[in-house]
């Protein structure tokens, strides 16, 4: 897989994941202005700028899972939120099937890229039952006739492996893993083509983490979803991704097929990352070449 920017919109490339390109991130830059003071703003003093994403090109193919790894704060979440069309990028575009995603007037278009969030506790409205959360979007997007909303909600809940009675419960009566399932059901309700999962398992216990990973793998297979999977857990990423992009300080430093990246890392940072991964039973890996680097 090439790390080079795709050439022009709508161009079809084939990679390890196979299939046409569904989501393309081109030259994406996302800066945040620091809070700054009101007075400073009045005087036009430039507030501090955080360069969260600083020029990223990525391509996601149909049916493929792209893993995005990198240390904490390197801009993974920002990139994925941009990719889901939630932020207006400072510059660059995100295209879905060749069409710019952001500012798309068509709500049908925007629903095709959906997101699962990291924190299972804050990503559900605490005052809406699961049924309300799901039927709200179904009704609003007129995905099914009104009369069938309830049936569809039942199907979705079933799909993510929750019991039917969960419909009338508030999020707080669910465990973290169950909440994350609700989050996935919500994303799936919109029948998306692309699922962006921003560290969906990092807040979960290992055993629960396994069930969610399995669920995502199954969904991908049965629904043919394309997925951008963000994580800092190398093992998890290896388990789920076809391709991997390694991010460092707002830019993608390495990209390639999963086994390739794991076995023949090119970039120093990737090597450091892999060397740091603890392994069960494995003797501690030898110190990487970059050892001794100051820790920021």
């Amino acid at each position: 897989m090439s790390a080079s920017p795709s050439t022009g919109s709508g161009s079809v490339e084939t990679g390890a994941g196979g299939g046409e390109e569904v989501l393309a991130v081109e030259g994406l830059v996302q800066h945040f202005r620091g809070r700054g003071s009101a007075w400073g703003r009045l005087r036009g003093r430039p507030p501090k700028v955080v360069k969260a994403v600083d020029g990223v090109d990525l391509v996601l193919h149909r049916g493929e899972t792209l893993g995005l790894v990198g240390e904490s704060g390197c801009g993974k979440s920002t990139l994925s939120r941009c990719a889901a069309g939630l932020y207006t990028p400072t510059s660059g575009v995100v295209r879905y099937a060749g069409q710019p995603l952001h500012g798309a007037p068509d709500r049908a278009q925007r629903r095709l890229v959906q997101m699962v969030f990291q924190d299972p506790y804050s990503s559900l409205n605490p005052r809406m039952t699961v049924g309300q959360t799901l039927s709200e979007i179904l009704t609003y997007h007129r995905l099914v006739p009104r009369a069938q909303v309830r049936t569809r909600v039942g199907e979705l809940i079933d799909l993510v492996g929750l019991p039917t009675r969960a419909v009338d419960q508030l999020p707080r009566s669910f465990s973290g893993g169950q909440r994350q399932r609700i989050g996935i059901a919500r994303a799936l309700a919109l029948e998306p083509q692309v699922l962006i999962a921003d560290e969906p398992v990092s807040a979960l216990d290992v055993s629960v983490q396994a069930t969610i990973i399995n669920l995502l793998l199954d969904l991908k297979e049965t629904l043919g979803l394309s997925m951008l999977f963000v994580s800092h857990n190398m093992a998890v990423v290896r388990q789920i991704s076809d391709r991997i992009a390694v991010m460092h300080d707002g830019v993608v430093v390495e990209e390639g097929d999963t086994p390739e990246v794991f076995e023949h890392p090119q970039h120093d940072y990737t090597r450091l990352l892999l060397a740091s991964v603890p392994r069960i039973g494995g003797t501690p890996a030898p110190a990487p070449a970059t050892a001794g680097r100051d820790l920021r």
Partner: protein, 357 residues
């Protein structure tokens, strides 16, 4: 990852000889009175931590790991209380001591570090002062002595430019540095044992490694014992020689890490092991553990894991299995510990099926 800046190697004042028990828990019970009833969070836990040895403590979220450590440190969050058993620190039973005396005894023998270093540091105090606080307040050093000691400690945990960092506030440091400051604080009382409650969960892998390396070095060079709580088996595997697995407030399996991880003799340990993805060997599907952890508000008749156990037999539901020795230093609380090969094939069978992709 850091190379340790060479400071003067110090012999910890109170460090017992390697191999002597520093902390012994005997049948400790911790209960939390809640409006909805008494939550029996720790149920008769016994464990021993030796000087110079790293003991791992793993288990599902909510299995009572943190409360066990905090019970040992006499730092239970209110309203939790120890309701049974005894805590022996450096050979002395502290359960009957007067609070001030107990506090003094415990904190001069053991120290504790927490998961989130940012919240574990006082945000309004300079980090140097936080490290110097124990030498100054408790060890009776003068201001300059304490300062020198703090600088020394900061250097020991691999903080570059300690002179300059001395005056920094916690929020001005990176996560890994903060965690190392915490370790420096823990070391400032010259403990024989460090209790670490998920010290690396909040860090990413590269920084996690640096922190674990510092802890490992302390153990090797200074003979400081370590109790490491985590739910990451991989971390345990590369850090600890001994391992205790907890489930539902009890220790369910105990033994050498290597043995436990290669040949688990408790179904829970086995299941846990199989649900961890291996960075080097992706599988088609991970094993999961169906069902939910036990409700600790309720009494549990038999084995706490029984409702979720693939190898469950009738006896498991009615009679609680005690920790039973299997081989030297390896015990398991399972009625069927002796016949792992007899456990029915679980869904996890699929796990070894083949490399995916």
């Amino acid at each position: 990852m850091s190379t340790l800046v060479d400071g003067p190697v110090r012999e910890p004042r109170s460090a017992p000889a390697v191999g002597t028990p520093v902390l012994e828990l005997h049948d400790v019970d911790v209960e939390i009175p809640l409006p909805s009833g008494r939550l029996h969070a720790v149920r008769g836990v016994s464990l021993t931590a030796y000087a110079g040895q790293a003991l791992g403590l793993v288990g599902e979220s909510g299995s009572g790991k943190s409360l066990t450590l905090r019970a040992a440190m006499d730092l239970l969050p209110s309203p939790a209380v120890i309701t049974g058993g005894s805590v022996v620190v450096a050979g002395t039973d502290v359960t009957g001591m007067r609070p001030a005396q107990r506090r003094e005894h415990i904190s001069s023998t053991m120290a504790m570090i927490f998961q989130d270093a940012l919240t574990a540091l006082n945000p309004t105090m300079r980090i140097g002062d936080q490290v110097a606080e124990v030498p100054r307040q408790r060890l009776g050093m003068s201001r300059t002595e304490a300062r020198a000691r703090a600088l020394d400690l900061l250097a020991q945990v691999g903080i570059r430019d300690p002179e300059q960092r001395y005056r920094a506030f916690p929020h001005e440091l990176s996560g890994g540095m903060r965690q190392r400051v915490c370790i420096a604080i823990a070391l400032s009382a010259e403990p024989g044992l460090i209790l670490a409650d998920e010290p690396t969960t909040a860090l990413d892998v590269t920084i996690q490694k640096q922190v674990l390396d510092v802890l490992g070095r302390l153990r090797r060079d200074d003979g400081v014992g370590l109790v490491l709580v985590t739910h990451d088996l991989a971390v345990v595997s590369s850090t600890c020689s001994e391992l205790d697995v907890m489930y539902g407030g009890r220790v369910v399996e105990e033994g050498a890490t290597e043995v436990l991880l290669s040949a688990p003799r408790h179904p829970y340990t086995a299941a846990l092991l199989r649900s961890v993805p291996d960075p080097d060997a992706p599988v088609h599907r991970l094993l999961t553990i169906p069902g939910a952890p036990p409700d600790l508000l309720q009494p549990i008749g038999g084995c706490a894991f029984a409702p979720r156990c693939p190898a469950v037999v009738d006896r498991c539901r009615t009679e609680r299995p005690p920790l039973m020795p299997l081989s030297a230093g390896h015990t398991s609380a399972c009625w069927r510990a002796h016949e792992p090969q007899e456990w029915p094939g679980q869904v996890g069978e699929a796990a070894v099926e083949g490399v995916h992709g």
